[in-house]
Amino acid sequence: SAVISQKPSRDICQRGTSLTIQCQVDSQVTMMFWYRQQPGQSLTLIATANQGSEATYESGFVIDKFPISRPNLTFSTLTVSNMSPEDSSIYLCSVGTGGDSPLHFGNGTRLTVT
């Protein structure tokens, strides 16, 4: 399976600032997704990162808060904007090669907002 690298692995940020998380895959993948994992909660899909076009957001998530870029088939970024303590979470990049293939995950970015 593809090797997925996420940066940064962790960060502590102040309220009101923004953080951009990078996801780099070692091979071209059809699909890239961003998930959020909050303590005691199920992994929740934030959005599908579409190559060369705007991301597709799930209910409850908006582009102004979580802008996403995907310039090519191996790279994507997620920005968490105007952060509040409620944004403290693990953010995970996930990739798939399409069809029946399963999704694989990076090691996540552990974000703490103070």
């Binding site: 399976s1 997704f33 199920s42 992994l43 399963p102 999704l103 090691n107 996540g108």
Partner: protein, 111 residues
């Protein structure tokens, strides 16, 4: 009702015991079922991937899907301390890449 329900209670077992984990789901359109293993401070790692009903075995791990009762199971035989992790069940429907996850079970195998 959440699409995938997984009792998140922690589970402690002695080394060598059989670990049994279960999930239920509500969406009849789900066709693909997954178990992920997540070690502390790591991302979810795909453990088992099954399509429709039936059993799948991989070494000490067996995944079972019963679509008639909407029930997903994972069995770990001869459990080892290295199996200590959180186990997440997930499901999706055909043509839809959005995964629905359970909350995860923390498993501790005591040497």
């Amino acid at each position: 009702q959440k699409e995938v329900e997984q009792d998140p209670g922690p589970l402690s077992v002695p080394e060598g015991a059989i670990v049994s984990l279960n999930c239920t789901y509500s969406n009849s359109a789900f066709q693909y079922f997954m178990w992920y293993r997540q070690y502390s401070r790591k991302g979810p790692e795909l453990l088992m991937y099954t399509y429709s009903s039936g059993n799948k075995e991989d070494g000490r791990f067996t995944a079972q899907v019963d679509k008639s009762s909407k029930y997903i199971s994972l069995f770990i035989r001869d459990s080892q301390p290295s199996d200590s992790a959180t186990y997440l069940c997930a499901a999706r429907s055909y043509g839809n890449n959005r995964l629905a996850f359970g909350k995860g079970n923390q498993v501790v195998v005591i040497p």
